[in-house]
Amino acid sequence: MALRTLVSRKTLRTSSLGLRGLQTFSLPDLPYDYGALEPAISGEIMQLHHQKHHQTYVTNFNKAIEQLDGAASKGDASTIVKLQSAIKFNGGGHVNHSIFWKNLAPVREGGGEPPKGSLGWAIDNHFGSLDALVQKINAEGAALQGSGWVWLGVDKELKHLVVETTANQDPLVTKGPNLVPLLGIDVWEHAYYLQYKNVRPDYLKNIWKVINWKYAGEVYEKECP
């Protein structure tokens, strides 16, 4: 599988900055081919989504972090504050999409297989059944106005599952500091438009065929052992 990661410019940056090493972020590889999630999500969408949209968030996030670093070292408070929305948007985009790629898997690698183990139990306890959870997530995702994400998360303090939506690229943690994302579904139009046009409910119905419950279960077991 071809490497799609951008070479991190970390080493260059460290040497040019001298004293400070600034962590730059890079586009994570997809653990599957672009076409592997068809027909639920087309290869064209996966390629654009990963190589263009996610890459743009990474690039702009790195830019914003660099500017933040410059402002912080100069003590420029107003620039620090001004950069927050770009950091939240682009950083959130990077964080959210990195989770999203792990939330998906080709059918032959377990995509679509229902959750087992403790997450499966927790879903049945909290929502009644997996079907009920799916209906709830789909309803909230379809009702979201504009751009955003719909999440299945776990409150790591209270140890219970939640379904939440966030706007734009806000990460789940903006809805509650103890919330850990298990599963996120991107409902920005770029995530489905070329294939589903305006029929977001169809996208939401079909994406469950490639959802990687294994990963969600692993995260859940880590938070609720």
Binding site: Q145, G146, Q169, W188, E189, Y193, L194, N198
Partner: protein, 272 residues
Amino acid sequence: MNLLSCSNNHCVLSSSLVAATDPPLKNLKVSIGVPRFGFGHRNGSLRNNHRVSKIVAYYGLKNPPYKLDALEPYMSKKTLEVHWGAHHRGYVEALNKQLAKNDVLYGCTMEELIKVAYNNGNPLPEFNNAAQVWNHDFFWESMQPGGGEMPTLGLLQQIEKDFASFTNFKDKFIEAALTSFGSAWVWLVLKREKKCLAIVKTSNAVNPLVWNDIPIIGLDLWEHAYYLDYKNDKAKYVNTFMNHLVSWNAAAARMARAQAFVNLGEPKIPVA
């Protein structure tokens, strides 16, 4: 409610530009259906007054002032078909459904409805649909085949007054469009209080009517507006809009009408 601010600016444009529909169907409540909007109406149900009269339609889907392929190659027919035929139509139908359930908001013009539903920042469920219906009408009318180039005469003068030059305005407009997050709109507005033109970004369905300003040009930055034609290349879409699509004719007409409400120039009365 200030009636001056509520007049329906569709009327000004519709005589010269719009191919089809009527203004919002204010007096339609107990009367004939309007088949061309796609809402049928059975002949029998009007005659029996003791039966509950069935309200047929509140708002209709207005046609863009040009054929769906007229903006090619800058905005494809396919985009118009989906954007107007599915998204815009969807908002109209959703709004009509909401009003059918709770029509205490019925009787307003679209602009009044938007302001009331905005509810000073705590929007009612009707707001999103109403505002998006209006926004898209405004958007289609903000474009024309053979658009772009430059405004002339009074509008150009006002732009040069408020932005130093047209080039500066264009750069600032494009910059605003490219720095918007998520689903958004960018507008050239005439600010009523400040009596000057300004560029305003709004998110989701919000439009400058809610702040009582007068929109002059609107650009849809939701991904559905450009994704089929430009994929993720928002910059190309925005530049194409400015260079080939924006209708300065429509803007000039709106500006002329706006001057009935906003006094832009103090006459130079000599002090005695």
